[in-house]
Symmetry: C2
Subunit: 201 residues, 2 copies
DNA sequence: GTCTATATTTGGATAGAC
DNA sequence: GTCTATCCAAATATAGAC
């Protein structure tokens, strides 16, 4: 029926516009800074007046939230796409590599996801759930390596997020710290999962 | 001479006002967020009109810079005050404790010093020098522990800044990650300075 | 769904009287 | 050194015509 077709087309176009807005928001944030995102600039990037954006998103915070959610979905997808075969320690290395590469690719995305400091912005509960489920995959992998205590898990997240933090703060896009990932992993495994360590005791 | 006295009193009052302004700026940043610091709010906190602040600081960035510099001086002072006696590994632990406590005390200060993300603000060269000289003390201490490679030094800073980053991001003011410092240090020393390790090989 | 027009607020910064 | 007055620019958001 043509009524349904028209409705579908409308919904399709609406969705496309929403996507275009978020995509332009990323570009704007990369150019002007995350906090410098403005509706006027964003509008001009999608060929609209700023006011028209409110048809698609009710507020600027809603756009931040869409960006936050999209980025969380992206890292979750990438982690999920890692083939789960063979040695769990090898899997841990692959996860780590994927995560660090993800952080290092985009400073603005890193800031939005991991340095909560946009004025009054708090991400929605669903976005949090995405982030947690990524963490859960890491936790399972560590368990497969023989690491079970939550202390040891916190040690792991501290080490890896520390690599990312130093890299982003001091040399964004570089690899001075990122290349230390395997070294840190070896040290960690030798201490917390000696059965999987390549180093003989 | 009374001319000099008057000049001194003026200089003194001027300095006191400058200090009061920076102190109020910290309070404002803690209340409104670092990026939310505004001259009007700051003025009202020191009992002035916003415009009068320009007598003491030529711009808002200059105030950020004063805050940045003050904070760097503070951590440098604290690190310098640590008594340098006995085992270098013990000294390393003390340094680490001082640093982590410093980070955890004040989220806004942490953000200003270690998460460079204020709009167009870039700290002055002198402030950078302060920060570098604190890092240099850590480097010397690690050398005394027998750690010499720059790779190993980067591993150390990644680990410790990772503890701080996780603590600040997930549980500011708490100690879920901070309490892992000694555990991380043990692991690190065992790997990079086995001669100083308590664990027998 | 996009526009014009506008309300409303807020920001940093300057000029000049006192 | 502080004030009043003001400039100027920019922001988010709403109302209503088309």
């Amino acid at each position: 029926m043509s009524g349904n077709d028209a409705r579908d087309r409308r919904a399709e176009r609406n969705l496309a516009s929403r996507r275009e807005i978020v995509s332009a928001a990323w570009a704007a944030a990369r150019a002007e800074g995350l906090a410098g995102l403005s509706m006027r600039d964003l509008g001009s990037r999608v060929g609209m007046r700023a006011q028209s954006i409110y048809v698609y998103y009710p507020s600027k915070h809603a756009i931040y939230d869409a960006m936050f959610s999209e980025a969380n979905q992206e890292i979750l997808d990438r982690i999920s796409a890692v083939p789960v075969s063979g040695d769990p320690v090898e899997l841990l290395r692959r996860y780590t590599h994927v995560y660090l590469r993800f952080c290092n690719e985009d400073a603005v995305r890193y800031q939005l996801l991991y340095q909560r400091n946009i004025l009054g912005f708090e991400p929605s509960a669903e976005s949090y759930a995405l982030a947690s489920s990524g963490l859960e995959m890491i936790r399972r992998c560590l368990r497969a390596c023989g690491v079970t205590s939550s202390r040891a898990f916190d040690v792991w997240t501290a080490m890896i997020s520390g690599l990312a933090a130093q890299q982003m703060a001091n040399e964004p896009g570089g690899k001075r710290w990122l290349r230390l990932a395997d070294e840190l992993t070896d040290m960690y495994i030798a201490r917390y999962a000696p059965a999987h360590s390549k180093e003989k005791k």
